[in-house]
Amino acid sequence: MSERVVVIGGGGAGTAASTVAKRLKPSLRVTVFTEFEDIAYSPCGIPFVHGGEIPRFEDLFLSTVDRYVADGLDMRMETVVTDIDLDRGLITARNEHEGFDQLVICTGFTWEKPDVPGANLEGLHYVKNIRRAMEFDRLLDTVRTVAVIGASPLGVEMAGNLGRRGLDVSFVDEGSWVLGEVLDPDVAQPVHDSLQEHGVTLRLGTRVEAFLGDDHVRAVATSDGEIPCDVAIICLRKMANTALAQAAGLEVGTTGGLIVDERMRTKVDGVYAAGDVIEVPHGLTMLPIRGLTGSHAYAQGRTAAANIAGVDRVYDPVWIPWGLVAGDYVIGGFSVGETLAAAMGIPYVLATGVGVSRARYYPGARKTHVKLLAEPGSLRLIGGQIHGGEGVKERCDFLAFAAKRGATLEDLAWMENIYSPPIGALFEPIAIAAQNALADLAAATREPAQPARAVPA
């Protein structure tokens, strides 16, 4: 009899786990349970449909249920799993039991709900489900003022896109600058400028105290006064959806995510978990973290699938390259910035430099700002932030990988780079930053003749 694999959750991790397991071991009987009516779409694209950059929500669909069925998967759409019995190897859905030999829990996340009066009023919107997003988009055509609560990455994208749409957006957060969990203030400043140019009003250092209204929200009460709004979009923290797993006896860690090992295995034989529901270690500190991106969820799903299919695969601790467009401004980074390093008490050497994204004489060339953090002594990379012109994403991906492999400022200072006027300048901005830091360190230690501070191209 074929080995039975049950996957709970049809997001990035769930679809990866199910499709890759089936591909690696076609004899597996793979059943996917999802509570939603749709699958294989990109929720990350939703803000950009609201903002008009992407024409239609339908464009966000990457595959279809029929395609998964044709690939041999048993798809149970709009079917909620209500119980997991690990001792008997059964799940319960629609009051029926389904047996499994191996189980993959990919139940994802839910958005944190504000713990203030009025949080149940109509008009508070959470961005996740594409059908709700379609309804919300129609509603946006009838409103004028929007409050975006929480300067998270989603909050920044929603605020910027709704500002672009012509709405009157108030962007509320308790922190001193947007993206306070990942971003440094020097990088936040051009983000603020770009959002404000798009008509977004920043209300930073401001706590939400209540949502006001009868049945429907009409205003947000804050520590800084009342902000009128026709709707409010809640973009606080992503909370791991662990209730089902916890009820089955699986262990939750200090981040609220399920504990797994580097093969995505829980402590129970044959039970895996992947995606936003789990916690994974940060490559620098080995402390568990969670709430990463779709690409992380997909890779974790693949890791679980490989191990289910008998192919030994290990998932590396993460260095978290990240990036987004805020208003019109591109920002990115990896691992830690100065704020997070200072919060944790991690010592660092700073390497900063400004280059250009193309040859400076080529039309469209923009400044690219690089800030790297390195370990004192060894000068191994530990983090960084980049902003400005093209290539932010590629640089952050590269640096996260380089940091994982132990690259130092010395390695980066003398890295090779493409010089092609439309796509790359003579001097690579990363190398400029690294050379600047080495020159400063040499000057500080009064070493004999060392490279001079790099001159930006």
Partner: protein, 94 residues
């Protein structure tokens, strides 16, 4: 979730919150342009006046040893600490 697990989660959440607030104040002094004072909840004096200063006095290498000793890091769950020695060739996972 057990009461102990809930308490650990809450402890970590509060500790990170107050450490981050303190770091934001420090970074604001370094890069003031475009920033605002963060919202500070009333009270929480133990965190702000005791925990944060005490945490900051402990050198990072001591903190790392304590985190490992207390089982706060992922090795406890079966993760391998990555080797990041410069120049070491990459080896496929076993």
């Amino acid at each position: 979730m057990s009461a102990v697990a809930q308490a650990k989660q809450r402890l970590r959440d509060r500790a990170e919150h107050h450490l981050r607030l303190a770091a934001m104040e420090e970074l604001r002094r370094r890069y003031p342009a475009g920033t605002s004072p963060a919202y500070h909840e009333h009270g929480a004096l133990l965190w702000r006046r005791a925990f944060v200063p005490l945490y900051r006095r402990v050198p990072w290498e001591h903190k790392v040893r304590v985190m490992h000793a207390l089982g706060m890091t992922a090795e406890r769950a079966g993760w391998t600490t990555p080797s990041r020695r410069p120049g070491e060739p990459w080896r496929p996972p076993v």
